[in-house]
Point group: C2
């Protein structure tokens, strides 16, 4: 009985990893759709987000059943409650990928991203996709050092986000208000995507060390 | 023992209501700070957000202790797990009020909101504040009809949000890119604030009826 229980805990963890894989892929495809003004790719990201939502609902139900049936305490209780939180963060990352895809769709057949800022947007997309993949590994490995790496990825994201605004506010910006609105929103979506990845990583740190990520001091 | 337990459940509910009161007030003050370019008001919203964060951490600890000590099942378990979710939504509403205040602070001594769109922004602020107050009442009363009203408030918010973009994209817009970026972000913050209020209301509907809000059919 106890074994089956731990199998179910593992299944929840596997499902979280699978969700990170899906949202990483969704953000990757949404970013390509945005850069290439690829309508059908954008559409596919938008319609497939339902998969992530379904996985999350399923995970919630499993977690809830496990709480009700097994009445876990201490660490196991903390793992289950924390998994619920993590699933909410990852589900939201899926929504943000869908939002990026929607901007690509709205501007089609034009690209929403003017050529001179494409480099920055591609870089933000790269950081976001990498962070989603890393956070999947962190959930699987429970490796605190890797979890803490997400913090510096997020600093990198914030730096690129500021860079994006700088480019937007150059006097040489000639793409008007509509493009500025799109770029503002896209920048915000990538930044929030990274925030949620960091939030998941911090929860892993807390689960493993019992201390909040910002108070945890790694061994020298 | 059982009585103390239900007192603790009530205390969690009271704390959620108190959190909605704080975030409603924060959004109200942030919106005034934005409209009047009032720096000290903006600063106070930014520094007081910590209060909401503290309440949320406290609520999480209580909920967690209750799960560990009382091992609730069925409805009680659902109430506690759902309260954790609601607290995360409300905490995020506080963050969004703080974000509005930060835009007011960044543009000081100018106002971030040009005169011709002030009406729309004030209206969005009004809907947001009203929704936060309503959701507090809904948590306290568990009244499904009031919870469902939040859906039409949110439709109203979405309508004003579209209106804001229309105004922003008028050829007569003369306030440049920087103001457009601020208005885009402010609009997004109000819209997300409303989304979180709806999310809390839907959770109340689910707790009371056992059905998702979008599938619940009220008596004629």
């Amino acid at each position: 009985m106890r074994d089956q229980y731990h199998e179910e805990l593992d299944a929840i963890s596997d499902q979280l990893v699978e969700m990170t894989r899906l949202v990483s892929s969704a953000m990757s495809r949404a970013s390509t759709a945005l850069a290439d003004a690829d309508l059908s790719l954008a559409e596919s990201v938008i319609s497939k987000d339902e998969q992530v939502d379904r996985l999350q609902r399923d995970l919630e139900q499993r977690a809830f059943d496990l709480l009700a049936r097994q009445q876990p305490v201490a660490t196991d209780l903390r793992i289950i409650v924390t998994s619920l939180r993590m699933s909410a963060d990852i589900e939201r990352m899926g929504d943000l990928a869908r939002h990026v895809a929607k901007i690509a769709r709205r501007r089609y057949p034009q690209s929403a991203i003017p050529a001179e800022i494409r480099g920055t947007v591609v870089e933000m997309a790269g950081i976001a996709i990498r962070m989603a993949a890393k956070v999947g590994s962190v959930i699987a490995s429970k490796d605190v050092a890797s979890a803490l790496e997400l913090e510096s990825d997020d600093d990198e994201m914030d730096k690129m986000h500021r860079e994006l605004y700088t480019e937007l506010l150059e006097p040489s910006w000639t793409h008007g208000i509509e493009a500025a609105v799109d770029v503002t929103l896209v920048g915000r979506y990538y930044e929030r995507f990274a925030d949620h990845a960091v939030s998941v990583a911090r929860r892993v740190v807390f689960l493993v060390t019992g201390e909040p990520a910002d108070e945890y001091v790694p061994e020298p």
